[in-house]
Symmetry: C2
Subunit: 357 residues, 2 copies
């Protein structure tokens, strides 16, 4: 039986995409080879990379001023690539709104004067700092944010206006809501939440910003080099890119980001409304900063949380355990989570409350 999989990442993928990948796994595009076996220089494959880029440009309305890159190493590698490509004045501001935002900040400190100019650590990252109050410094190379915080279930409802280029880790919300790419210098995202299996990372970078990587930047981390080579400087993670293209095709067919965002808002509302109307379940995030991708919640105590998670798994609602930094439960309801999955979760929550309240 197929599970409803609430994992924070790697996470659920659209069933029809998986079925297509399975069906064609031994014979990609009539080549007599698996997509995992063909050369990345094969036209059948390089056409997929080009299609992936074109679909992203179309769906996110990305202009030619920006490079669109498929790279490796996850967002964690980009934590270093950001300063290694951009930190010419060795000065950058970071807003720390969660665990990964903090890791990005710490990595920035390896390469220069990285400063945490605002943080929500004082309230266990349950909110986003008021943007108008952030003391951004002059002369910085960039300002770094994490737009959606997977572990704590927050997101920026809007983005700060900054003098320096704004760099955003969007791993856990890429393609889930409409954004104006032109507000950003660089956007990056590990693919394993909304886009593809783990192993490919999306980078969208304003081309004028990336022409002079630092001397110590590894060639593979130079966005300029990746851009000049159409993401084929070396052998790319072919299978992950292939599945990404299937996911992007499906998203376009559905009506694009506006359409999926409506569904995402609907799914999140189902869950938050139920939690807010319950005296048994609690979500601690300040309402205006709630993520529509990651919904952490707790029952009245840790024993009940454990029982909740075990009972849910028996009903095919899996990977609901919250991150160890937070405890409790977390339902990650990315683009590929069907509405039925969220409804099934709410039904289970009702039943569990009735049995345990």
């Amino acid at each position: 039986m197929r599970a409803f999989n609430f994992s924070a990442g790697p996470s659920t993928l659209p069933l029809d995409v998986l079925e297509e990948a399975q069906r064609d796994f031994l014979d990609f595009s009539g080549t007599g080879m698996s997509v995992t076996e063909i050369s990345h220089r094969n036209k059948a494959f390089s056409a997929m990379v080009e299609e992936g880029e074109a679909l992203l440009r179309d769906l996110m309305n990305i202009s030619k001023d920006y490079a669109v890159l498929f790279v490796q190493g996850g967002a964690s590698t980009q934590f270093a690539a950001v300063p290694l490509n951009l930190m010419h004045n060795k000065k950058a501001d970071y807003v720390v709104t969660g665990n990964f935002a903090k890791k990005a900040f710490q990595e920035g400190k390896l390469y220069g004067d990285a400063e945490c100019v605002a943080s929500s650590a004082d309230q266990t990252y349950t909110y986003i700092p008021e943007l108008s109050n952030i003391p951004f410094r002059d002369g910085t190379d960039y300002v770094h944010i994490c737009s959606n915080n997977t572990i704590f279930g927050t997101r920026y409802p809007e983005f700060p206006k900054t003098k320096a280029p704004l760099v955003a880790d969007m791993s856990s919300e890429i393609l889930s809501r409409e954004i104006d790419v032109n507000q950003f210098g660089v956007i990056y995202a590990g693919a394993q939440k909304n886009l593809a299996p783990a192993g490919v990372t999306l980078v969208i970078a304003r081309r004028d910003l990336i022409q002079n990587p630092l001397d110590i930047c590894p060639t593979m981390l130079q966005w300029k080099v990746q851009d000049e080579n159409g993401s084929l400087y070396n052998t790319p993670p072919c299978f992950a890119i292939y599945v990404a293209v299937l996911v992007l095709r499906k998203l376009k067919k559905l009506g694009g980001i506006k359409a999926i965002n409506q569904i995402n808002e609907y799914k999140a509302k189902l869950l938050y409304d139920f939690i807010d109307n319950s005296s048994f379940y609690t979500n601690n995030v300040v309402k205006k900063y709630r993520s529509i991708m990651n919904v952490p919640f707790v029952t009245p105590n840790a024993e009940l949380d454990d029982a909740f998670i075990k009972g849910a798994a028996k009903e095919g609602l899996v990977s609901l355990k919250g991150h160890r930094l937070v405890g409790g439960m977390r339902a990650s309801i990315y683009n590929a989570m069907p509405v039925e999955g969220v409804k099934a979760l709410v039904e289970y929550m009702k039943k569990f409350e009735k049995e345990n309240a």
Copy 2:
């Protein structure tokens, strides 16, 4: 019809491995999820990573003195990781025996006094420099070699004895012949030739050498960090690792590296013997340095080469075009290429010669 795929990488994988991956693609290990969908912290998955490491230790006889790591970014990323982890005295020797050996050398120069102490560029990389004559310098942090040169079809029949730790890029021959890991400080290999789909890179590193990465080394490129986290510091390329484990299981069942090496030597001999007995086909590599993985060859002229490649593709013998630096043909006959594939190639070569000599 399944092709015989002679691609240099990504390259052919064992058919039964692909069939197993296809069969289980929607339900990994009874989880009700695809292996591409489950959390890397899920025990069903982390057990796969541990099994992969254990199989490699067993097959290659790797002691606990060495870390065995699954990382991202391909060998090209390791070209930077090598100096960033090891170059404390900012001094390293490189032996340049081909295109990737040269790229590794150039990357080394970003971080210190990297010197090319021997090269076979004078003869278009058709041989390996005589090891006893190489003027290795004193006080170097390491000596870097590429043990098998994919484009030019050469390999080291034996390895140099060096005072400094020996670092080897084994991307195109890992697991194809028995080696003594203890001769090396570090071995690394992109997986997309003998091990797995593209997207995962194997690193085998002596633990005492990797405890002090340079200050400027990105966290994700620090082998120490990857070792301390069992290759799960961040989300790994799960699907590629999963397929690697299937490939390693199969290799163990077959009898390990000794067994596959016998088959590899047999396949290579079939092809080289035929070429050497022909006055139509030529392989330019000095015999004692011939690779058993990559076999470049030419017909009497470039027009015939083109006709050969096109005709071969029609008979299901694909990806035989040589690298643009060399021209002609190249048959990559990695572990997963069946003996039947090499026999079919030789039969086609006979027929083509008869028709065109």
